[in-house]
């Protein structure tokens, strides 16, 4: 049996969860699939999970589970492992999925392979997982009676499942005070400040080649004209030219816009891990040998400021005409 940790289902199964369920069905092959959902809404999730081929949904219900508490969540999954002895527990490699499975690994002294893109059950299981935010792949063997795997988001194509009628099994986990020490006690709402980097259809991104904080002026102007936002590389953030919230890359925001305009960005793997999902990439760089050009669809060679100002002027001219 393969157990899937599901963060929560609000009506429909979200993409990242559907990807993890697709991964789990392939891994399970002919073995049954079960799921564990923690807290409110678990019972309501059963039909959507049944449609994904989940035969049994274990729902942890406890008054202390109204606010997210990673260790308590892991404790709930551990109880199901104890009762049902799955060969593997699979979760989405989201922030919370990664965190709950890490705590579960620590609690149960279990092996955890994070950010898998494919896997084959067996003893040992074989997995392919992401390193360097996806710039490198690792093939590994996972040893242990219960193997924990997280699924790298947006690496698995969602497949349709043969739906079943899911059975709901509710249980009340035994939670100690220590399980609830780390618990969300307050939510600060984000200030509504325009379009987010992750959602923008166009990202005009600048690197060291922009030259200074002031050098981003023309990039701002172009982004405004195209209904997009400005991004930047890690070198720019480290220099203090832009805030970290603008940073695209492995340790910044991962973006997938219709168009990514990379201005004066060399194309280090750290940066490409955050922008390679873009539908199109236009590179503007004075160095025709920059690695960015090997990952771009279009390129313009020359001074970033001069080229961007010319594009802005051309857009204004043709729109005015």
């Amino acid at each position: 049996m393969v157990l899937v940790f599901v963060e929560g289902v609000d009506g429909a199964v979200d993409d990242v969860t559907a990807q993890a369920l697709t991964f789990a069905r392939r891994y399970a092959a002919n073995e049954p699939l079960e799921a564990v959902v923690v807290g409110a809404g678990g019972r309501e999730a059963a039909p959507a999970l049944g449609a994904e081929g989940v035969a049994t949904v274990h729902v942890a219900e406890h008054e202390a589970l109204d606010a997210y508490a990673p260790l308590a969540w892991a404790r709930c999954v551990a109880e199901v492992i104890e009762r049902r002895s799955p060969g593997a527990v699979i979760g989405a490699g989201s922030d919370r999925g990664s965190e709950v499975l890490a705590h579960l690994a620590a609690l149960g002294d279990l092996p955890l392979a994070a950010n898998c893109v494919s896997a084959q059950a067996g003893d040992p299981a074989t997995v392919t997982r992401l390193r360097w935010g996806g710039s490198l792949l690792e093939e590994a063997r996972v040893h242990g009676a219960v193997k924990l795997l997280t699924v790298a988001p947006h690496t698995v194509a969602i497949e349709d499942a043969t739906g079943v009628e899911a059975t709901v099994e509710t249980f009340t986990p035994v939670l100690s005070d220590a399980d609830l020490v780390v618990r969300v006690c307050e939510r600060i709402a984000a200030g509504g400040v325009g379009m987010s980097l992750a959602e923008a259809p166009v990202v005009v991104s600048g690197g060291r080649g922009v030259g200074s904080a002031e050098g981003f002026g023309p990039l701002e102007e172009l982004a405004d004209l195209l209904g997009g936002v400005v991004g930047c590389s890690r070198a720019v953030t480290s220099a203090g030219w832009r805030p970290h919230t603008d940073q695209v890359g492995q340790t910044g925001t991962k973006v997938a816009p219709d168009l990514y305009i990379a201005c004066g960005i060399s194309g280090a793997t750290q940066h490409m891990a955050g922008c390679k999902a873009s539908k199109r990439i236009l590179a503007i760089n004075k160095d025709p040998e920059a690695p960015m050009l090997a990952s771009a669809d279009y390129a313009v060679i020359g001074d970033v400021g001069e080229i961007i100002r010319a594009i802005v002027a051309e857009l204004r001219r043709t729109r005015g005409a």
Binding site: Y68, P70, L71, G93, D95, S98, E99, A102, H103, P111, L112, A114, P124, T126, T128, W132, S135, L136, L137, E138, E139, A140, R141, V142, H143, T150, V181, V182, V184, C185, R187, I188, A190, L226, T237, G240, H244, T251, D258, L259, A268, T269, K276, K279, R280, L282, P288, P291, M292, A294, S295, D297, Y298, A299, V300, I301, A310, I311, E314, L315
Partner: protein
Amino acid sequence: MNVLVCVKRVPLTGGRMVLRDDQRALETRHLGFTISPHEECGVEEAVRIAEAHGAATTVLTLGPPEAEEQLRDAMAIGIDRSILLETDGEDWDPDSTAAALVDAIEAERAAGRDPDLIVLGNESADAGNYQVGARVAHALSRPCVNGVKGLTIDEGQVRCEREVAGGRDVYVVPLPAVVTVLEGINLPRYPSVPAKLRAQRKPVERSTPQRGQARVELVRLVVPEGQGRQAEILGSGADAAPAVVEVLRQIGVA
């Protein structure tokens, strides 16, 4: 108060991943090295806590003898002392890494330097195992807050903020505690030349831990195929603007 920050030495990979012939590691002969980005911010955060609250600070790493370079970098930022758990240079699996860190922290406790706050990166830049912090916290029976982007210490507690869709979640936990931080929690300072010189005189304690059996066992590394993009050169300098605008129209963003 004692603050201990764990860091990992990782190569500066530049634009291309090149593997060693045995396909078990990157070819790093021509690469520089750095502290993994999240942990670089962890070092800065530890120094800021020390500046605000007068803490004694220690940086701990598991790595090859050359990782002394990253310990010196951390001490140039302002960390007081360092511990190097020497390996033969191979990357350790997360179970063995956590076990070695826990042993070193237990030794600190025995020496009267029990860390009130242990800071790690949320995940390393290279291996990205996302679990060492949780394993260390569990072994020490301490609370663990992951993915921290804002941190304040107040009266024996640590208040942590974590970004989530729509805002920030707040956690308040008692010390001693473990936190794993994300880049962006602060902007690390550049060390001054005098600070770099002072760091050369700060202590590095060394020991050689034993590696356990890896349960996630590396078989080989593979450089993923590129997306087969072949950049079409639209021109040079300002003269390229009309061609660029034409492309913007074609793809429907102009």
